[in-house]
């Protein structure tokens, strides 16, 4: 009886086990070898180069640019998306009967393919677009949206914020819906206004949701590919060059499999370090405000 149950467990878990063997364990081992080799995916021989790939990557201006890009995106993306998502969550939560419909509406941007949205943004920002005409009329000139580093970063960060605000709002909404009503009632008896109860009750209660959103949003900034691939190709001056662009370019355009894998490892290290710092900061902040 026990043996049969044991067998059943392994058997029903087998799709996952088999998949992980082929698409996790084998690539995992392969990557561990690849990073120390120079190989163009085609020729029969691979050269063992030790740590040369890492040395070259650390010295490469492209990799250095990719290292800083997520932080530049974050500076615009995090404040925008946090304010927008919390605002949407509060708004939807206060609607009552229509809240489901509104949630659906605000979630729509998440469905958009980055490819299609990049075309729209490109069209709206092109030199002779209706938007540019407005600028010409008002200022006599139109900003070079994708040609100035700061503007290109802003455009891409805002595109991603547009896409994810409604998605993150749902996390906050789930958090809002689990706040006990009694807390607000008690605060109202103490004579707290709307504003006070938002700062004293809502935000502290949203802390777990905020924590998850921060981790998700920061992690997201390290995995940007579609928008710069379509809009800027990583330009101008590598200002929007991302880790994924570099890895894709090196692996599948320059065919440097080993080097690309080494860059991917560096990316993983960077993500890990930054997320650790974000976690610590959030925990420290939670303790400092007494929310945890």
């Amino acid at each position: 009886m026990r043996r049969r149950e044991e067998m059943r467990g392994w058997l029903l878990a087998s799709p996952y086990l088999l998949f992980s063997l082929i698409f996790f364990v084998v690539p995992f081992a392969w990557a561990a070898v690849l990073v120390f080799t120079r190989w163009d995916l085609i020729s029969p021989q691979r050269h063992w180069v030790g740590l040369a790939n890492f040395a070259e990557a650390l010295a490469s201006p492209r990799v250095q640019a990719a290292f800083w890009t997520p932080f530049k995106f974050m500076a615009i993306f995090l404040p925008t998306v946090l304010v927008a998502a919390i605002a949407i969550a509060l708004l939807v939560n206060s609607l009552g009967r229509w809240s489901g419909l509104a949630a659906v509406g605000f979630f729509m941007p998440y469905l958009a393919s980055g490819v299609a949205m990049a075309l729209v943004v490109q069209g709206i920002l092109s030199y002779n677009s209706p938007v540019s005409d407005v600028f010409f009329r008002l200022f006599g000139d139109v900003p070079d949206w994708l040609g100035v580093p700061a503007l290109a970063i802003t455009v891409i960060a805002l595109m991603i914020a547009w896409k994810f605000s409604g998605y993150y709002a749902l996390i906050f909404l789930a958090g809002l819906q689990s706040i006990p009503r009694e807390l607000y009632e008690a605060a109202a008896i103490d004579g707290a206004g709307q504003w006070t109860s938002f700062w004293r009750i809502t935000l502290p209660q949203l802390y777990p949701a905020l924590y998850s959103v921060m981790i998700l949003a920061v992690g997201l900034m390290f995995g940007i590919f579609t928008e710069p691939y379509m809009l800027t190709g990583g330009g101008p001056d590598l200002a929007t060059h991302t880790w994924y662009l570099e890895i894709y370019y090196q692996a599948f355009s320059a065919l440097r499999a080993g080097y690309a894998s080494a860059v991917a490892v560096l990316n993983a290290v960077a993500v890990f370090l930054v997320l650790t710092v974000v976690r610590r900061l959030m925990e420290w902040w939670g303790r400092a405000t007494g929310w945890v």
Binding site: E5, L12, L34, A87, F107, Y248
Partner: protein, 278 residues
Amino acid sequence: MGVRRARALRAVGKAILLIVGLAVSIFPYAYMVLQSLAPWSEVNRSIVPTQLTVRSYDWLLHGSAIALARPWLRAFGNSALVTSASTLLMLASALVVGYALSRLRWRGRDVVNQVILFQMFYPAIILLVPTFLVVRQLGMYDTYWGMIVPKAVNLWAIFMYVSFFKSIPQEVLEAARIDGAGELRIISRIVLPMSIPITAVVGLFLFMERWSELLWDLIVVKEYRMMTLNVLIATMSGPYATYPGPLYAASTLLTLPIVLVFVAASRYFTRGIQLVFK
């Protein structure tokens, strides 16, 4: 009077916020559809076209002597095939595996659960190049299998099912076992019907993400006839740069189904918010 005025003001403010917010959410979609139906001289030159025409769609399918038609409809079919096959496989595997990991007692269970958590947080980007090599080794490069099989099992979906199944009372399953039902029968007759809400909402998310995938499909497919619609648009955005109208038409074709699927499933979606986002 003050209180009532304040309340009315707040309601108006809320309505304005709501309308503006929704307008911002929807505007790019509207722009895309309008531009795809605009006369070519007006594409990207005015937001609302003076007249509507299907020229862009027509051109997309027939091309011209100097810009050949690419297999757009086939690409749409490729997207539909790859996305549905992937999503079905991810759901089916997550259901069965999630059941085994939460509702069966076996010795490796806790270890596997731990490994799944480790894998979920493992940076997948490191595996990109070696996974391409595995796919190539298996002869799946430039085939549908190459797009479907590496995305046939989804850890997040397994995780969602595991946490959901923990809420199914064990007695129900034990009763069925005493009646002599096999595990597969229990899954299909008891567990599956109970998990319709979560299946709908998890399936919706898997479908949406698979439909808009770019990086992997770009890597694993090289011929026009095998490309998904998303990849074909990305590939043609350079060569067709002087034909923005048809590119908007293709983007509309890409966006329409996913919006329809979402709207059709929105009932489950609003109910599933608590399930997925808690």
